[in-house]
Amino acid sequence: MSSNRNRKLLAISDLSISFESRQGTVLAVQKASLEMGENQFVAVVGESGCGKSTLALAIIGLLGIPPAKIETGKIEYKSVDLLALKESDRRKYRGTEIAMIFQEPLTSLNPVYKIGDQIAEAIIVRERRNEHGEGVGETGIMQRAYSTKSVAAPSKLHLPRFASKGLEPAILDALKRVRIADPEEIIDRYPFELSGGMRQRVMIAMALSQKPALLLADEPTTALDVTTQAQVLKLMKTLMSEVNTSILLITHDLAVASQVADRIIVMYAGDLVEDCDAFELFSEPLHPYTVGLLACIPSGSKNVAKLKPIPGSVLELNKPTIGCKFASRCAHAMNVCREKKPVLAEVKQGHRVACFLYGE
């Protein structure tokens, strides 16, 4: 509740998500609460299994229920609780108001359709929504699109079929916006012909062609080379202001988060443990896990600064713990830490921590 933006774009309160697995019930996310305003870049950082991806999937409604189960909580997008909606209503937000890009674009892009056609599909969805005021599902459009128009005779330049409908300029525009060189060539290519970085840009182009107010990105650069990662991150940051979108970036890489995010939220084993401005997280980290995580990042030679790993390892999520989940690895653990669970609370202006070191 510390954002200077007056309208809350996204407000999650008390969200708890569990999974049924062979080892029992896993508490993937526990009582998560966070807020995001417009035009903000927020990064959710955590190690594998901490629940960050689950959180993102829940926001966009792509969580498989079952085996997942929303135990409690609300996800309010522009003051509408998405969890309380029927699936048919929730679908109207997906891909239109809230878009998502994933780690591996090869599985998100349809391999048998050309790039141009897939972007056209995204554009058509938006146009139909604007026309009829109703959202159309994100799947199945291709069939409808092809049946409602005649197949254009291929021109010498091999323009895609949608050229006849005048969509080509919009498609080229979308590709240019993500700084793809030679978009005219890319339109006719298939996803497997492109490099990882290009595919990710196409994904971003498709996601943003909807002009969503919120873009979720789940490890979008983890599979990319470091130079490509830099380009894509820079692109996302630039586009944020151009398209007036907020971005929620899920990543395990604190360094990446520090480069692009306005705010960083740290998750550990399903809990949100720290939430503050990016600059402050690095200058004044409060939660011992955050401190430990920062000390783990190699910078400089081994001869200069030896890394200090966090002792121990993450507890299994299918065993309910009493007290703070980090207590067994925490150098500052007190008795209360093993008895009660700390609550994420604001201890400074714009800085929330879940730790007894900073009071109740």
Binding site: P309, P311, G312, V314, E316
Partner: protein, 300 residues
């Protein structure tokens, strides 16, 4: 010389053997089909073994001598004295059916075992060698694949004379190609796994890598396929036996009995019925078991 003390998580997980057993029992409990299949198969195997051992010891576990005629009135309907009735020569059908159990089981096990071994080796070796060797082996596999079972069986039956062993040989010759194909596919999947390379750097020779690393990792898929396949062999063998290529009368054999008794389908229906049912039960039993195996092991 210890590393930095990083306290490892204290996991009290079950040891691997317990987990395997647990998985199997869980499968048996949860899946009715598997339970039925397992019961049928166990019954058949136990019966077959009993008959076989009794035969070696010159004893007999069946109520009557299967080939002795006139142990009861001819064509008698099933009764407590003769659980499956008697046939046209007064022989006890039940005794004949039970006594015939080892035939089908033995043939199917031998054929499947042979196919598994030959197929696994041929397929895995082809996958790991690649190149011309791979092509050559696979084309050879195709050739054997193209031979029709019945035609070959009949040819062998004519050339070498009928008999269980000869039929088993005929089936073995044409049964292994699908296993080779399957093994090759699975082996290709793992051939470039890093643990194969690691084995090379551990000094393991090609044969050792094949035996210790490749085969065990593809075995699950092959075994699942095999378990589903047993029923098919039983059926084909019963068919050959029906055609008279397997046993010579008066030896009992399920397929042969169906053939011999089929004229009595309307006058004494129990005669062709019981051998037929037992064949069906054998096939169903193994199929259910194989299915269950596939669901549990395949999924994990």
């Amino acid at each position: 010389m210890t590393s930095e003390s990083a306290k490892e998580e204290d996991t009290t997980r079950a040891s691997p053997t317990h987990e395997r057993l647990g998985t199997i029992l869980y499968a048996l409990r949860s899946n009715k089909g598997v339970l039925i299949g397992a019961s049928l198969v166990t019954l058949l195997i136990v019966t077959g073994l009993a008959v076989f051992i009794a035969g070696i010891l010159h004893g007999r576990i069946t109520p009557y001598n299967p080939i002795q005629q006139d142990v009861g009135p001819a064509l008698a309907a099933p009764s407590w004295a003769h659980l499956m009735g008697t046939d046209d020569l007064g022989r006890d059908v039940f005794s004949r059916v039970v006594a015939a159990t080892p035939n089908d089981l033995a043939v199917s096990f031998v054929v499947i075992a042979f196919s598994l071994i030959v197929g696994a080796f041929v397929g895995t070796y082809a996958a790991f060698r690649g190149g011309l060797v791979d092509e050559a082996l696979m084309r050879m596999t195709d050739i054997f694949f193209a031979i029709p079972a019945l035609v070959l069986a009949m040819a062998i039956g004519i050339a070498l004379g009928p008999g269980i062993t000869n039929m088993a040989i005929a089936l073995m010759i044409i049964w292994w190609p699908p296993y080779a194909r399957l093994a090759r596919g699975e082996a290709l999947k793992i051939a470039h796994q890093n643990y194969i390379e690691a084995a090379r750097m551990s000094g393991a020779g090609r044969l050792r890598i094949l035996l210790e690393h490749a085969l065990p990792n593809i075995s699950v898929t092959l075994l699942i396929y095999a378990s589903l396949d047993v029923g098919t062999v039983i059926l084909i063998y019963a068919g050959l036996s029906y055609l008279g290529l397997a046993v010579r009368p008066p030896s009992p054999d399920w397929g042969q009995m169906v053939s011999a008794y089929q004229d009595y389908t309307f006058s004494a229906p129990w005669l062709p019925l019981f051998p037929g049912i037992v064949i069906a039960l054998g096939v169903i039993g193994f199929s259910l078991l194989g299915d269950g195996l596939k669901d549990t092991l395949g999924a994990s």
